[in-house]
């Protein structure tokens, strides 16, 4: 008897399951990792990505690349997720976390093929991860003392930058970044470091403005008559449109005589003049507003030797607030000296082809601006991303002042310790632990590979040294040899590693625990109103 097959799922639904599913997920994750593998380390190469809008990005930041890749394979998106999470939590080390996770998966694959139950692997690996983290805690070095702390921050920033496009200038930028972060208040708000990009000039001409700088705003007639240089500045920060304008949107006038009409027109002008007069009376000599400042006001201020600029971005205004103090006013009726921001110096300067306003020597000084220069637009954009990473690292290191040696040193040491621990475990978990330990070695190996060194040779030397107790032995890329990376000042905050290990292990467990993928057909979106049943 003929029977049609039982249709359980909708037509077009994809359904895969079983061991093969795990293996194919692992393979997919590895493909993802392969695409960014070569960006790791000081000799890592950059990727050029053209997105669907035709925009070009050059980057070697793992998270940036993966975000742009637009991955659709469901399991592989886990890799993108861990890169994002590393970016969110620490801000750097995004490539390492993906490379580490993919190596762990690679080491696990044979076990799955041999029929080991994935849950056993998961159990062992999460135990091993805990162990690795506790070793990391033992190994990390606490830094104390004002001067040492600063030095540590500079070195951490330099280590981060050494793997980026701007690595030649890393000392220059490392100091800049640390100075920038040091100006911030306790909670280290990232938004208080402004980054402005100006095409042209040289990387070396980039500078840190201890205060606020922003591009000259759109201005009206009379602007050029205003002075562009002050000392002892009092800044009025406004959120008011200084322009002739209706007081109330939906107000209506009913007038009977021409005199009344004239009186109303005069009153409107008076309202504006009164506002301007109040600002002038408060003693402010620089007036900045989020909203436009019109012709009349610009000329009025010019007559009184005051500077004004309208349509300032909210971020810049916030930074000015953090730098100069005072408050942003929505009404001028109560303006006085207390609500004005104060700073030492204000001037306008040509930077590249742009005119910039600078505010320096500010009274509260809890904001700063990095002015980046460079040739190509993509180059500056990548510099910005690199500096962002470095800033994040410095912020984390400041909150969490312990470090480990980079350049593969910490990974080798963890690998060694885990291997020793594995030997004390009876049963088949020993193999799992060994595989886990082995996967840490991918970091130094990949570093060598990207630098064109003989990975096997260096890895052997490293293992030898670590076995002899030189726990900070790592790769010295520039000398193409093995050396003590603690002494060589290749430092990284331990939190970077801690998060990388956690994230990589969690990704590993997640990928292993999936034995079935069901993909439903996508409902065509649009066309129908939600809530209405189909016709």
């Amino acid at each position: 008897m003929m029977r049609p097959p039982i249709i359980l799922l909708k037509e077009g639904t994809e359904n895969k399951q079983g061991k093969q599913q795990i293996i194919s997920n692992i393979n997919a994750c590895q493909v993802v990792a392969d695409s960014i593998r070569t960006t790791l380390g000081p000799r890592g190469l950059d990727k050029l990505i053209v997105d669907s809008k035709g925009q070009t990005t050059i980057s070697n930041d793992g998270a940036t690349i993966l975000k742009l890749l637009d991955i659709v394979f469901p399991a592989a998106s886990v890799m993108v997720d861990i890169a994002k999470s590393q970016d969110a939590e620490v801000g750097d080390g995004t490539t390492s976390v993906v490379v580490l996770a993919s190596e762990m998966l690679k080491r696990v694959k044979p076990f799955i093929e041999d029929g080991v139950h994935p849950q056993l692997l998961i159990r062992s690996f999460s135990k091993a991860c805990e162990e690795a983290l506790s070793y990391l805690k033992e190994l990390e070095i606490k830094i104390s003392g004002e001067k040492e702390l600063r030095e540590m921050l500079v070195k951490c920033a330099a280590t981060t930058l050494s793997s980026k496009l701007v690595s030649q200038e890393r000392d220059f930028f490392a100091n800049m970044v640390v100075d920038a972060v040091n100006t911030l208040d306790e909670s280290l708000p990232l938004s208080m470091i402004g980054i402005k990009k100006v095409n042209g000039g040289n990387l070396n001409e980039s500078r840190l403005v201890k205060g606020v700088a922003f591009q000259k705003a759109f201005s009206y007639a009379g602007f050029e008559m205003q002075p562009k240089h002050y000392t002892g500045v009092k800044v009025a920060l406004l959120n008011i449109e200084l322009e002739l304008k209706a007081e109330k949107d939906n107000a209506e006038m009913r007038l009977n005589t021409v005199q009344d009409f004239q009186a109303v027109v005069d009153a409107e002008w008076n309202i504006l003049y009164e506002k301007l007069q109040k600002i002038a009376d408060s003693g402010a000599n620089v007036v900045l507003s989020k909203l436009p400042i019109g012709d009349v006001a610009t000329q009025w201020f010019a007559d009184r030797d005051m500077f004004c600029a309208g349509r300032i971005h909210q971020d810049d205004l916030d930074r000015l607030l953090a730098a100069c103090g005072g408050s942003i006013l929505t009404t001028v009726s109560q303006i006085d000296d207390n609500v004005l921001g104060k700073c030492g110096k204000f001037y306008e300067q040509q930077v590249g082809s742009e005119r910039y306003n600078f505010f320096e020597d500010c009274s509260k000084a809890q904001a700063c601006t990095l002015l980046l220069r460079g040739g190509a637009e993509q180059f500056i954009a990548e510099t910005e991303r690199s500096l962002h990473d470095a800033i994040m690292i410095v912020r984390r290191a400041k909150k969490n002042d312990s470090i480990v040696a980079g350049g593969g040193a910490i990974e080798m040491e963890l690998s060694k310790m885990l291997r020793e621990k594995a030997k004390s475990i009876a049963g088949k978990e020993q193999f799992f632990w060994l595989a886990y330990a082995r996967s840490f070695e991918i970091i130094p190996q990949q570093l060598c590979h990207n630098a064109g060194l003989d990975g096997t040779d260096i890895l052997n030397k490293l293992r030898h040294r670590h076995a002899q107790g030189e726990k900070w032995s790592g790769i010295d890329i520039h000398r193409e040899a093995v050396g003590d990376n603690l002494a060589a000042c290749v430092w990284e905050p331990s939190i970077v590693k801690r998060n990388a290990i956690t994230a990589a292990t969690e990704a590993l467990c997640l990928v292993l625990s999936i034995d079935q993928t069901v993909k439903n057909v996508r409902t065509p979106s649009g066309g129908q109103m939600p809530g209405l049943p189909g016709q």
Binding site: M1, R3, S85, D87, K248, V264, L321, I514, P530
Partner: protein, 548 residues
């Protein structure tokens, strides 16, 4: 035009394209096959060693989970008989919040065994009757198997033990961490009469980054947004809550301001300003340090809030607003006014903090007891966090079930084996044809421990025989130890199942199986064309379906 072929039977009455199946062969067997097929899809997700499924639903959202309810919900099952089983598991989800997989697997096992009996010539009705008798007996026996009762639901240590089993099956490697969190949260929020425990009082806040073991629980609420004004931290704060936007009120009726001369024009905005200041000042005079509003904060208001050093927080969800009121003991105001002191809330710390790279506002009540607790879940990928959230949800529901019915059964498959054994020996005494069905019911119960053993990579048959041997020998609490791959005493290892959960699972599964068996005809109308039915608009709050 096509030649019209005379249709026969039912088809004559129906539109072209309609399908219909009739009789034991076509309808019953087919339904059974579909259900068995469905169960086999999620069977490998059962138990602590169950595997996850990756489901991509119709709007391309990714789920990685082993929670049967979620899988089934997102699978978009079409078969009508299979839908009955899914409905049963949905009922379980609503009533108990856990053991959904048990329902599906048990129902499918019952049907599978029924198919054998049908082949032997029994009618589905007889089988259904037998199953119902057996289920009745099972529910009779079940209370005698209760081993202990949760005594102290306010003791974190004790609660942890009870919750562990529910979490283990969801998050195998993190059960200790999560059990800790949930136990703390539950004990914190449970009212003195624990019967009134409300699941809604345990909030979850998911933030990407770090690892699951860095998840924390706190007394109070966490919102994923920043503060509006300049003030970011306030301690020992009095809080005023408004359900309206904190802005100049617009009249509902369309109207214009009529200005008749110049003086009125000049004084108009001055009047507005002083009015706003007076309002804010009145609020400040009551000692309010934080203002929470459901809508936009107007520029002018914000200006004066900053001036009077009041922190401004905007919440968009009215549900969140209600919960916040419950947390801090405030009464929400429907318009801007200075509420009397007894309607204000209080909180020890209101602050903007950075967790991961997310700015959150926390309302922290730094005390042991509180009305609302928030579990902050961290994790390295979104799907992981979502799955942990489901585990937490299940555990909280387990706790709720405990507050209603504190009886506990031995876990790890011990209950099922004992039930199976007792029902089998009871069935032998049954006089009629039902005897066969009752015996099959007993066998179907075996499927659950079998699934646990299979998923753990053990030899299921061997394990079952050993289990039977132990149970016949009087060791009623012996279950499967998946870690050591042998048998163990579930009580000694603190593995408990909820009595309420098991009871309702057996009931629902039997009912679903009986319903499907009693269907002898399926008529499917031709599916309306015009694309799949779009789902209704998403509820504003992730869990407001149950509460509105």
């Amino acid at each position: 035009m096509a030649m019209s072929i005379p249709k026969s039977g039912y088809n004559r009455f129906m539109k072209e394209g309609a399908q219909h199946f009739k009789g034991t062969d076509e309808a019953v067997q087919r339904n059974i096959e579909a259900c068995v097929e469905l169960a086999s899809q999620i069977r490998s997700a059962y138990g602590p060693n169950g595997m996850n499924k990756m489901v991509i639903n119709h709007i391309e959202k990714l789920f990685v989970t082993n929670d049967a309810a979620t899988i089934l919900k997102e699978l978009d099952i079409q078969h009508p008989a299979a839908r009955i089983i899914i409905m049963a598991s949905e009922m379980q989800e609503k009533q108990v919040g856990d053991n959904t997989n048990t329902v599906v697997i048990l129902a499918a096992a019952l049907l599978e065994h029924a198919a054998q009996l049908i082949n032997l010539g029994m009618t589905p009705q007889e089988i259904a009757a037998g199953y119902e008798m057996a289920a009745e007996k099972a529910l009779e026996v079940l209370p005698t198997l209760v081993v202990s009762e949760a005594k102290d639901l306010k003791n974190i240590e004790e609660v942890r033990h009870y919750l562990r089993s529910a979490i283990t099956s969801k998050q195998y490697d993190n059960e200790e961490v999560i059990a800790d969190l949930v136990a703390k949260a539950c004990v914190q929020t449970v009212p003195s009469n624990s019967f009134n425990f409300n699941v809604d009082n345990i909030r979850i806040c998911k933030i990407l980054g770090s690892g699951v073991h860095n998840s924390t629980v706190m007394n109070g609420m966490v919102f994923k947004r920043g503060a509006e004004g300049e003030l970011k931290t306030v301690s020992d704060a009095r809080i005023a809550v408004y359900t309206c936007p904190f802005d100049l009120t617009q009249t509902e009726t369309k109207g214009t301001v009529l200005i008749e001369n110049a003086d009125e024009l000049v004084s108009f905005s001055k009047g507005e300003e002083s009015e706003v200041e007076a309002q804010v000042k009145a609020i400040a005079d009551n000692g309010v340090k934080v203002v929470v509003a459901a809508g936009k904060f107007g520029d002018l208001y914000l200006h004066f809030l900053n001036k009077y050093k009041i922190m401004a927080v905007r919440l968009t969800s009215k549900f969140d607003l209600r919960r916040l009121c419950r947390t801090i003991g405030a009464q929400a105001q429907a318009r801007i006014c200075a509420p009397p002191v007894n309607l204000l809330g209080h909180c020890d710390l209101v602050a903007v903090k950075e967790i991961g790279d997310e700015n959150v506002v926390i309302f922290d009540k730094k005390s042991e007891k509180g009305n609302v607790a928030t579990v902050i879940i961290r994790g390295s990928s979104q799907s992981r966090i979502d799955d942990v959230e489901r585990a937490v949800d299940d555990a909280v529901n387990t706790y709720k079930a405990l507050t209603k019915d504190a009886k506990l059964l031995p876990g790890a498959g011990a209950v099922e084996i004992e039930l199976s054994r007792q029902i089998e020996s009871w069935g032998e005494k049954a006089p009629g044809l039902e005897q066969y069905a009752i015996k099959k019911f007993a066998h179907a119960l075996e499927t659950l421990p079998k699934a646990i053993a299979e998923n753990a990579g053990m030899n299921a048959t061997e394990v079952l025989t050993k289990l039977y041997a132990a149970h016949v020998g009087g060791q009623k609490n012996v279950g499967i130890d998946i870690w050591k791959q042998e048998l163990m005493d579930a009580i000694e290892n603190n593995i408990y199942d909820l009595y309420a959960g098991k009871r309702s699972a057996i009931k629902l599964a039997t009912e679903a199986a009986a319903t499907i068996l009693k269907v002898d005809q399926i008529i499917m109308a031709k599916q309306a064309t015009g694309g799949p039915k779009p789902r209704g608009p998403k509820p504003q709050d992730e869990d407001d379906e149950g509460m509105a």
